[in-house]
Subunit: 326 residues, 2 copies
Amino acid sequence: VQIALDAMGSDNSPNPEVEGAILAIKDKVCSKILLVGEEALLRKELAKYYYDKSKIEIIPASEVITMEDSPTKMVKRKKDSSMVKAITLHKEGKALGVVSAGNTGAMMTSSLFILVRPGIATTFPTMKNPQIILDVGANVECTTANLLQYAKLGSLYSTYFFKNPKPKIALLNIGEESSKGNMMYKKAFQELAQDKGINFIGNIEGKQLLNGDVDVVVCDGFVGNVMLKTVEGVAVSIFKMMKEQIKKDWVAKIGALLSFPVYSYLKKKMDHTEYGGALLVGLNGISIVAHGSSNANAIKNAIRVAAKIADSEFIQKTKEYFEKGI
Amino acid sequence: VQIALDAMGSDNSPNPEVEGAILAIKDKVCSKILLVGEEALLRKELAKYYYDKSKIEIIPASEVITMEDSPTKMVKRKKDSSMVKAITLHKEGKALGVVSAGNTGAMMTSSLFILVRPGIATTFPTMKNPQIILDVGANVECTTANLLQYAKLGSLYSTYFFKNPKPKIALLNIGEESSKGNMMYKKAFQELAQDKGINFIGNIEGKQLLNGDVDVVVCDGFVGNVMLKTVEGVAVSIFKMMKEQIKKDWVAKIGALLSFPVYSYLKKKMDHTEYGGALLVGLNGISIVAHGSSNANAIKNAIRVAAKIADSEFIQKTKEYFEKGI
């Protein structure tokens, strides 16, 4: 499996991308990486590492799409940007998937192999198995029809990526009863309850999210994005408050040292870099969006996710769903 | 200040209500409590305590509105319910505020002194000062106009309850830039930015919530409710995962014992019972909704909030805002 990596996307590019590509090759998560970006810069950065040179190829690109760029305008204008070039490699079949830690809006716009308006599906640590949540920000003007598509795409993702034969799908809502929520969510509940192709188990509230009792959580992009960032923020704040309190008390400090393995286990479990990037669903192709703040480990895991999806039937099944309704 | 307390609302009623009323009287959070509910039951429960009998008066009510009751129907039908009677005492001026841990929908419906469609404002623990968030669930089919009202009401609440002379108001959104969010939020941003009566500081993301950098967070009822429950869920899950990991390792167990004061400080800080109930805003009166799972401490704090608001200019200022637009 050959994966195209936009080497200029992350906040600290190209360092995490280059190191992530090296890690990915060493860990054999894919057979070859097409590293797209400023040639001289990438060559210099790669020279720092010892690796199998046949497995990373530089594809020169002279421009960069920044976080400030308007997605629609810049994708058209910056034809020689690393992101557009990486996606083109995928479109032309030279790569089986593409990974970028750059501008999400630009990734969506330049994904010209779009089947329907895409959603962003992310994987979430829970007390049990990782859980898929979508949409977490692609579509902030959502309709009931979009929610139904997300339910189906999430179900396919869980089935073909996590090998769940009958994934449990839930709707994120303000209560468990079918009468809860606004019109869009109430209608989605009714339709999902009747859909025999989906194992819909009903509504789920925010407080149950981390229990991990369901495989896929469906919501609109506005709610999903606010929710995802809230989870991140609460986890960070709790650890921060804990640290501040511990500092004030030397007995607690010793205690914290003794319980250190517990903290580092939890930190790793809550760490988004362990889960790779988010998948754009609704495409006839594999686009992975990594966090702007990605480190090398996050990039490696995003490449791993892209390669694993390329190796699965997910894209084929997505196409069948949109073309034949199955 | 005299407060009416629906004694039959909480999951374990009337025990937490009766004990909460006793605590409120002992802590002098108000001058008198009108305890509304089944007379014999309340008399028996009160007999367990030693207190100043002139300060708690039983107001008999033969019916109870349950969590399963349809708010609109039951408020009309159950005229002799503890909730409706408590609100009537407030309407007639016999109490300056009302507290219930019962059906939120019924509380909204029976609040016939409504000025506009109410919002639920809750107080939130942060790393700095408590923060007001509204709406957290009253209005799931929200408009831009509602968001603007919430901004104003939140601003008044912060000014007259927390004594912030110029409270910082933020909009909960999926990014900081004014271009972020859906149409409703984008429009609200534009209008708030131009409103000289509000100290609007821009958008805030979920990950910044617990930093406590703003005084009031404005959002629609659907997003607010999902977000609030997510925060609750994440906090509970983190402590649970920590506990499970600590159990597995005896060194960590000793460590946890030594750092125990830190855990209990954080638990208290994150504990909703410390913050009293949520306030229904947009009313010409004081309605406090407590959590169904309230204990006596939560009830006492809800009474304290009601009394403190009754003692402030908040309701007067709310009326002026809706009547004269100031």
